[in-house]
Amino acid sequence: MKLLECPVNGVRPLSEFTYGGEYRDMPDPDTCSDKEWAAYVHYRAGAPGLKKEWWYHGPSGTWFIAERNTLTDKVSRTYIAGQEESK
């Protein structure tokens, strides 16, 4: 990768970004079992493939989602969370 496109600031070197981990849907804490919650907290989809990930552009303070293949390190698109349709 080495270059990443921030949806607000454009293509920048990776050194301007912080990795924020995989974007994951939280189970409903009121209805899920303890086991489901523990799995949400601790387990990860570790197999390679296309993942939705949080990335943070430091100089501008911008969080966004990158869809990245963790095998090839290719990013297919980036967008602000919740605005993927507009992009």
């Binding site: 995989e22 523990a38 601790h42 387990y43 990860r44 570790g46 197999a47 390679p48 963790t70 390190d73």
Partner: protein, 413 residues
């Protein structure tokens, strides 16, 4: 010169036999199948044969033996961990390593050098004391030392680190050692093979056959193999294997990089690690400085190298050893580290009967090779994980019983 070498000079034909047979086509079934021909998998095969007489075992390696993290790590062996269970486990490994050359009839170049974990901040000094106290309690020789003692052991080290991060002290760990990583895999392969274990290189597992929650076989690039017991010992490939059996784990993969310098005459006798500077360095018997740093900052299933890594590492190396400015880095490479959230491995049984996991080795797998092989062999043979590895069971995450290594998220290696 030792007499053992005479036969080579005196005989016409090369007198040494193959280390292990050239197995090509697996049999229809095995008592156990081990996925992964690295140090861990081969050690497990060896102890299955040796300790339990289970020799109808296939080791399946998708590349060549020792070609994964076994051959990519910086070969440090130590046991100065933070928790009693961790220290005990790695100490057992250190003790096995000490006799391993003789046991495997192969010189592993196991060399005890002493290991210094440098502390540049007060909080690092606190962590060093914590580790030292736990180590001492368990009977492992570790203690906090002052800068002058570090200077005695390594006079070339700039205690001021060029003014960037003055060293306040260190955790000295006497048993800290290095070994020839490839030889560990080859030695286990040789002896396992001698007892009947079959090692298949260039043989990839493409699926694991589970019926009613039990393992019944594996699909491979060389056909189907029937078996009731499968051990996954594949480090950076763990998530791909666990996905085949729908076993959830916390493991994520980050590249871990290393590099070596050109060879020079020996001067660095000890192993040095600095958590703050993200550096570990030792000098190999070939004269190269073997250097590593922290994990790459994001998930990736690749062994590509990055320039950031080597730039960061060398900037700190030259802070520690200013005179190395013009010594050259020859080669950099990477492995894929399988990380857990509590810096401890995942070992033992899983929700799938007959599927055993030896994973989560992050940056500490090489040093655990003998003990993981031994304890996983016991787990497979008895279908019960020994007490020593109970703290590392997969179910600890569901139980919110993470190991205390997370307590001080110190840099390992």
């Amino acid at each position: 010169m030792p007499l053992g070498l005479l036969k080579y000079g005196l005989s016409k034909e090369h007198p040494a036999p193959r280390f292990f047979r050239d197995c090509t086509q697996p049999k229809k079934s095995y008592d156990a199948v081990i996925i992964g021909g690295g140090g861990h998998g081969l050690a497990a095969a060896y102890y299955l044969a040796k300790d339990y007489g289970i020799t109808n075992v296939a080791v399946l390696e998708k590349g060549y033996i020792g070609g994964g993290n076994t051959g990519r790590n910086t070969t440090i062996v130590r046991s100065n961990y933070l928790t009693p269970e961790g220290v005990n486990f790695y100490d057992a490994s250190v003790k096995m390593y000490e006799d391993l050359s003789e046991e495997l009839d192969l010189n592993l170049f196991y060399s005890t050098r002493g290991h210094y974990t440098l502390a540049h901040t007060e909080s690092a000094m606190r962590t060093m004391r914590w580790r030292a106290e736990v180590n001492k309690h368990v009977g492992v020789e570790s203690r906090v030392v002052a800068p002058d003692e570090i200077s005695q052991a390594c006079p070339q080290l700039d205690i001021q680190c060029s003014g960037q991060a003055p060293i306040m002290g260190a955790l000295y760990h006497a048993p800290g050692s290095v070994a020839r990583h490839d030889a560990v895999a080859w030695g286990y392969a040789k002896e396992a093979d001698r007892m009947g274990v079959e090692i298949f290189q260039m043989t990839e597992v493409t699926g694991i056959d589970v019926k009613s929650g039990k393992v019944v076989g594996v699909n491979t690039s060389k056909g189907y193999i029937e078996t009731n017991r499968v051990l996954s010992a594949v480090a950076g490939f763990t998530p791909r294997i666990t996905e085949m059996v729908d076993v959830e784990t916390p493991i994520v993969i980050h590249p871990l990089q290393a590099c070596v310098s050109e060879p020079m005459k020996p001067w660095l006798d000890t192993i040095l690690v600095s958590g703050s500077l993200h550096v570990y360095v030792s000098q190999s018997s070939r004269g190269e400085l073997v250097m590593g740093s922290s994990l790459d900052p994001y998930e990736m299933h690749s062994t590509r190298s990055s320039l950031d890594f080597v730039e960061g590492l060398t900037s700190h190396i030259v802070d520690m050893f200013p005179f190395l400015s013009n010594v050259k880095v020859v080669r950099q490479w990477a492995g894929m580290a399988d990380l857990t959230p509590d810096f401890a491995p995942v070992m033992g049984k899983t929700p799938v009967d007959g599927f055993y996991l030896d994973a989560g080795w992050g940056t500490w797998g090489f040093k655990a090779t003998p003990i993981s092989g031994k304890t996983m062999a016991e787990t497979i043979a008895r279908d019960v994980a020994p007490d020593m590895i109970q703290p590392f069971r997969l179910s600890r995450f569901e139980d919110y019983e993470l190991t205390g290594e997370k307590g001080a998220a110190s840099v390992g290696h």
